[in-house]
């Protein structure tokens, strides 16, 4: 058990979760107190002692599912998906998925899995979802994986491919549509089950929009449960096939703050958006604190004299003025052409979310033309809306809609350059891939002369800079600093240093 735990801790560290030695010891101490047959309890015990941030929970869960996977012959990947052993000792040939799990999970539905047609499976799926029958759902998941995923032993791929294949065959959207369509019209079809109240109320011919919405969400959550069940099933089979360590490596997903902006998938982008909100709040708190607890300033004569009264007029305890550093003005100039759009979006979000920490924030976006978008963020609570307006309303295309930093920057300098003063920090966001247009790098130099700082944030890894049509080096000589900014963590660190 201790070896297993050590491997698990190593895996967590590889996944980027900081686990200290004393936390490892705590986990080891906790294990004897947990009844070992209780897998959930073990999971929570390990989580409580090893993972100290809510954002790391997902990564922990994945690693846990892999390392402490349920094992056994039932999960072996076989050519036919035939579990070798069964408790009731029936012959293996008719022991495919459903019947096998029937014995294991207390499900009465027997019958030969071989005879099961896709239509029957779809019908079973429909029944499981309509009746919220957990056991049946698990059985369907097992069966669907055995049938559709086409898993081959020893193939070094992650589970996503198998998941995709299984889900494509199940056509969950179609099932949802069918559930919704058949619900009001068929009073007797779904059997009343726990959590099926609307079904009994649904005698009324028409559901109100509110009820429809609730109903859809109920089914959606059941379908999500099925999805998770299928994912688990695939993972269990993969673990049985290839062992924990190999699989953990291919399943390892970056933590939200380490996701690369440029290559984030849709789910990862959602995770990033979620992580952004608490991040901006924390950052605002930290910046405010930094401003307040600055160094000591010059002697505050008035306060010292006032305070000396308590010591009989002797100024024992000198008082000092605490300087309040001026808040910086920020001008963000962001490239929003396709390649770096998501990066620019996150940076704009973040800067505007903490705009209370700056005396003024102005945002400009460009592709080959440039436009001011500050007003889009004003009075808008929802940054998504602001971004949507930027994408549809900002006038950023000049000729062809390919990035032209040179033109965009010189237009910016002509129209707004005069408004940059000695308290302004200018952030330029972009990969500086200029499509071989003229760089006009002198413009940045010109801005630099008037501004307090000019920073360039580049969402590309440093190794790619100045390769191909990237000319970040040409601009970089005129900037205070060129910062690689590919993840939330890097972005947070940079914004934290702004002054």
């Amino acid at each position: 058990m201790l070896d297993l735990l050590a491997g698990f801790v190593a895996e967590l560290r590889l996944a980027g979760i900081p686990v200290s030695l004393s936390e490892h010891l705590d986990a080891a101490e906790a294990i004897p107190h947990i009844p070992l047959e209780d897998r959930e309890a073990l999971k929570y015990a390990l989580a409580a002692s090893l993972v100290k941030s809510g954002a790391h929970w997902r990564a922990f869960e994945t690693a846990f599912e892999v390392y402490f996977a349920l094992r056994g012959p039932a999960y072996a990947i076989d050519g036919d998906g035939v579990p070798g052993e069964r408790e009731d000792g029936q012959q293996p040939p008719d022991g495919r998925g459903l019947a096998g799990s029937g014995g294991q999970r207390g499900l009465g539905a027997g019958g030969s899995g071989d005879a099961m047609t896709p239509e029957e499976l779809a019908d079973l799926l429909y029944r499981a979802l309509a009746g919220a029958n957990q056991a049946l759902l698990a059985a369907v998941a097992r069966h669907a994986v055995a049938r559709f995923a086409g898993m081959e032993p020893g193939r070094p791929v992650g589970g996503t491919y198998y998941l995709y294949r299984t889900l494509r065959n199940l056509d969950l959207d179609g099932v949802l549509a069918r559930l919704m369509a058949e619900h009001p019209g068929s009073p007797g079809a779904p059997r009343p089950a726990p959590g099926e109240e609307p079904a009994t109320e649904g005698d009324a011919p028409d559901l109100t929009p509110l009820e429809t919405r609730l109903l859809r969400e109920e089914y959606q959550s059941r379908i999500d449960a099925l999805r998770r069940e299928i994912e688990d099933e695939i993972r269990r089979r993969l673990v049985a096939d290839r062992g924990s360590e190999a699989l953990a490596k291919s399943l390892r997903a970056p933590l939200p703050e380490d996701i690369d902006f440029m290559h984030a998938s849709r789910e990862e982008l959602a995770a990033l958006r979620q992580a952004l909100r608490p991040l901006s709040r924390k950052l605002a708190v930290r910046l405010a604190r930094k401003r307040r607890h600055g160094r000591k300033g010059p002697l505050d004569f008035r306060a010292t004299v006032r305070h000396s009264l308590s010591t009989g007029g002797v100024p024992v305890d000198p008082r000092f003025k605490f300087p309040r550093p001026a808040k910086p003005e920020i001008v963000v100039i962001a490239d929003i052409s396709g390649s770096v759009a998501s990066f620019a979006r996150f940076t704009l979000h973040l800067v505007h979310a903490i705009s209370s920490q700056f005396s003024q924030v102005r945002s400009f976006v460009f592709i080959d033309g440039v436009d001011e978008v500050t007003s889009f963020f004003e009075g808008v609570d929802d940054p998504v809306e602001a971004v949507h307006r930027i994408n549809t309303e900002a006038d950023v295309v000049w000729v062809d809609g390919h990035s032209d930093y040179g033109h965009a920057l010189s237009v910016f300098n002509e129209r707004w350059g005069m408004e940059i003063g000695p308290r302004t920090s200018v952030l330029l966001l972009g990969d500086a891939r200029n499509n071989y247009h003229a760089s006009q790098a002198w413009v940045v130099g010109d801005i630099r002369k008037r501004a307090r700082h000019v920073y360039w944030l580049n969402p590309e890894p440093q190794a790619y800079w100045d390769s191909g049509d990237s000319i970040v080096g040409e601009y970089g000589v005129h900037c205070d600093e060129v910062v690689e900014c590919r993840t939330l963590r890097q972005l947070e660190r940079f914004v934290g240093t702004l002054e």
Binding site: P35, A45, S49, K52, G54, P209, R213, V285
Partner: protein, 306 residues
């Protein structure tokens, strides 16, 4: 159990005392007995915190029952709850202990004839010590539950105050020596996650992330906390709240707000929630005007459009 041997290796570590709970299930049913419906994770961690004699750091969105958990554990074990509310500017004299200067001054004036040594020994005695929550929790002979509420509000430097108490269960007072716990109290720290807590603090705690409950648990919570609510209404409330939480709002409705809403509906005598009732009472669930507008638009908006 092996717990005694594993903990006692540290010299001077207070005796852990009898374990408070027999099993995770016992914790769970005990908490249910005081109307706190814990899920598997919460019960497991409370159980472990007792066995390992470690504080629990509870983190999560506002209004998910973090403070309530500590209160319920206190009620369940029949302990006294000592609460330290954190705020910016909290310091030693508010959290740990303070000398009672006025009393010391009186003491000095009362007999002026004493020699200095005698007097010094005298005025730094326990008699002149004002125990603040942390010291009080350590010294208390009765079983206590210590709740350090909203620990993320104190400055990073002030967190260090807590470290000695949390890991050694002792308080060092230079003039008096070290005060050890007679019995290790159960400690809960809550945090709303407005800033990252220091590694040192996190390392000493078990971590519990409390999130909004799932549908079944929320329904059960509503049924237990709102007397006289029908099963259908509780179910509907839970579903609508889940639906609202899936929207992109400034502040999602918390569990306590959900309970308030359910109570309101019961008081108003609502049997089942229609679009009307939902729209009229949403301001109990949501506290921002923009949130209310958006939620009512999404929940019943198609009604108006049609």
């Amino acid at each position: 159990m092996t717990s005694d041997t594993t903990i006692d290796r540290d010299t001077g570590f207070p005796p852990p005392g009898e374990p408070r709970f027999d099993s995770i299930a016992a914790v769970r049913s005990g908490l249910a007995g005081v109307d706190y419906l814990a899920d598997e994770g919460i019960a497991g961690i409370v159980y472990l915190a007792d066995r390992l004699a470690k504080p629990v750091l509870v983190e999560g969105p506002a209004g998910t029952g973090k403070t309530e958990l500590a209160k319920s554990v206190a009620r369940m074990t029949g302990s006294r709850l000592i609460r330290l509310q954190c705020y910016e500017g909290l310091d030693e004299s508010k959290a740990l202990y303070e000398w009672n200067y006025k009393k010391q001054l009186l003491r000095i004036q009362a007999d002026a004839g004493q020699s200095w040594e005698q007097l010094e020994e005298d005025i730094f005695a326990e008699e002149f010590l004002l125990a603040r929550p942390l010291l009080e929790a350590i010294r208390s002979p009765d079983p206590v539950v210590l709740l350090v509420d909203e620990v993320d509000r104190v400055e990073l430097e002030t967190e260090a105050l807590l470290l000695e108490v949390l890991s050694e269960y002792q308080v060092s007072i230079p003039e008096l020596g070290t005060v050890r716990a007679t019995r290790i109290p159960m400690v809960f720290l809550t945090s709303n996650n407005t800033r990252e807590l220091s590694e040192a603090l996190k390392r000493r705690c078990l971590y519990l992330h409390v999130d909004y409950p799932d549908l079944d648990r929320e329904r059960a919570i509503i049924s237990t906390r709102v007397p006289g609510i029908s099963a259908e209404l509780a179910d509907q409330v839970a579903r609508i709240v889940r639906s609202i939480r899936s929207m992109d709002l400034k502040k999602h409705p918390s569990v306590s707000e959900t309970i308030d809403w359910a109570r309101t509906l019961v008081v108003l005598g609502v049997e089942s929630i229609g679009a009307e009732q939902a729209r009229d009472t949403l301001n109990i669930l949501l506290k921002y005007r923009t949130d209310i507008e958006r939620a009512s638009k999404e929940l019943v908006g198609s009604d108006l459009g049609a």
